[in-house]
Symmetry: none
Subunit: 196 residues, 4 copies
DNA sequence: AATGAATGAGTTTTCATTCAT
DNA sequence: GATGAATGAAAACTCATTCAT
């Protein structure tokens, strides 16, 4: 029963289905057929709306990135001082929605995609730069420009590291544990500055 | 003219070819045909020796893991005290052979493989446990059991994080920079202990 | 806002779009989607009016044939004697509208279509018979019945030959050159008759 | 029962099957699946040997062109004087092998292919130039350089014209009739020269 | 009158894998 | 020990066509 105005709904359903499939498969080796079936439509419709499998993947990636960005911004909005801003970013990274199996698998998959797709690489780069900029912005008042850059790198790397470790290992700490570990690192960095 | 004793040579050549292909492709989407061609043999021979593509992949993974293990052990052998042991592991992680495009792409690929292949997951778990154990072993005399575990997790995550960041971003620090960042984190952890 | 009396306009727009697409593609491998898009309507409307892709193609073919017929009749109307009639047909064949890339590609495409579509074959046959009849009608007073038939065949073939040669080869003569060549052949035929 | 040295046999079988399919379909809209089936192999093998459908088509085209070239050369070898050479080319064009339904349909299809495939266009151009050169070479001693060029164009066009006419119309003369018509045109051309 | 929505059927292409030699 | 031959299965993608609105 075709109706008007289905396009945005279908696009959304397909993107969600794509992310869910990636979450299940743990990789990009998902077929348009499966994505479409999960979204309750034919593979042809998926092509109709997105043009190609790559475009679906890219759209899913943008979705994930956007969601993450929203979560971060939401956290930042409630932060009153620089340190709180940095903690908010860490917290956002390990929030249940972001630190879910589905999301983590998607991140991993997108890292792989970025190795061959220039557009995916670009998206990832933009995201990384924004995250870095946010971290540096919060850290600069606390530790100065040069340390801020270094610490931002360390924080971001540790966060990414926890992501992939948790993607794979049951022994890895959960979101809360990972967040605590990153915050502990941050504590140390800030404490040193005070001591100095 | 078939020769006797070719098996180990062929296996090795295929494994190296597999890793090289993964390094080039940046993912597991390498074909047996290409691997075999790079090794200078027919695809049929690759199957003859390994039985299946997955087995080739797994063998390549074991190879990477073994190489890394060797590098670590080599570093540990020259370390005289606990702290040196921990630093040696960090150094090994960012040694040029390990921190190469090929190796990093392979790690990423294997993380993905582990999501579907139980055997790959097992291998990765064993490696992670051994690394963790090594780190904890070095840290325990310095910071005590519970902190050792926590810091080991943080170090390992940060290392992994630098791996995937470097896999993709030109802005990321090189091996030396990454090593310095991890060591800086370690400095802070140890300094806290001394202060306490 | 749908309007009354749009049908003939739409049909015409679709037929023209179809011919333009064939001209661009150089073959029948044009899609209903592209034809409709060029005509500024939806593919569904194309079906609504024509029933099927084949019918669109056939309609386009009839259009081309009709146009050619008109051009010929226009030329014939101004011809005062048998020889002029024959020359008029030749001239019409190489008139700029007929001897255009678009038209030539369409002819070629329709020849191909006729191989599978009985209706297309019938249309082409009717056109050929009419052309032949026109030529014979003009030639008969000049060279007699039997030679007229033979020469008509030769003329028509040479014209068709120039069409496909020009469709493809830059080295081929332009319309004027082709017309001169055919007329030269005609000169010879008529001269022989005089000599006899 | 796989054997060594099958490649040339398979390639040949596939090319023949391709031509046969084109002959039946009357167009390029033949599928790799049908070609392969007719050749008694799987579609995958067709790709294995040719790489793509286009390559199969091109190989078939080269085959047709080569066969025609051979037929012409065979005729030329037995021709003792210029005029005989020209007549031999005409005769070759309408020899039963060349003037068969299959061959004619293939020519038509290749003309269409040439509209989109640069390589096909190149092949066709090379063939046309060689044919033209052969005709001019034979005509020059008889009618001089400039007339030779003109007549060659006329002959070649008429030949091509008979091809497509015969491809489609049952009323068209058979090979012998077509040959006679072309030879008649040639007679006229040569007679004029003598008279002059 | 006109279209957005939707799909089934079909096409090319890829690739791991098998097997006879 | 090694390979050329061969394929089945599955994938992405295309497109004419239908239908409810």
């Amino acid at each position: 029963m075709p109706k008007v105005g289905m396009e945005p709904l279908r696009r959304d359903a397909l993107i969600r289905a794509c992310i869910a499939e990636i979450g299940e498969a743990g990789s990009l080796s998902v077929t348009v057929g499966r994505i479409a079936a999960r979204a309750g439509v034919s593979p042809a419709l998926a092509h109709h709306y997105f043009g190609s499998k790559d475009r679906i993947l890219l759209a899913a990636m943008r979705h994930i990135l956007r969601e993450f960005g929203l979560t971060v911004r939401l956290g930042l909005a409630r932060a009153n001082d620089p340190e709180a801003r940095v903690r908010a970013i860490v917290r956002a990274s390990f929030s249940p929605e972001q630190f879910s199996r589905e999301c983590i698998a998607s991140w991993l998959a997108f890292y792989v995609l970025a190795q061959t797709s220039p557009e995916a690489a670009r998206l990832l780069r933009v995201y990384a730069e924004r995250l870095d900029s946010n971290l540096v912005h919060g850290l600069r008042p606390l530790v100065g420009e040069s340390d801020a850059r270094r610490i931002a790198q360390g924080l971001a790397s540790m966060i990414d590291g926890f992501y992939i470790r948790c993607a794979l290992q049951d022994r890895a700490p959960d979101g809360a544990g990972a967040e605590a570990a990153v915050n502990d690192y941050l504590d140390l960095c800030l404490a040193r500055e005070h001591a100095a």
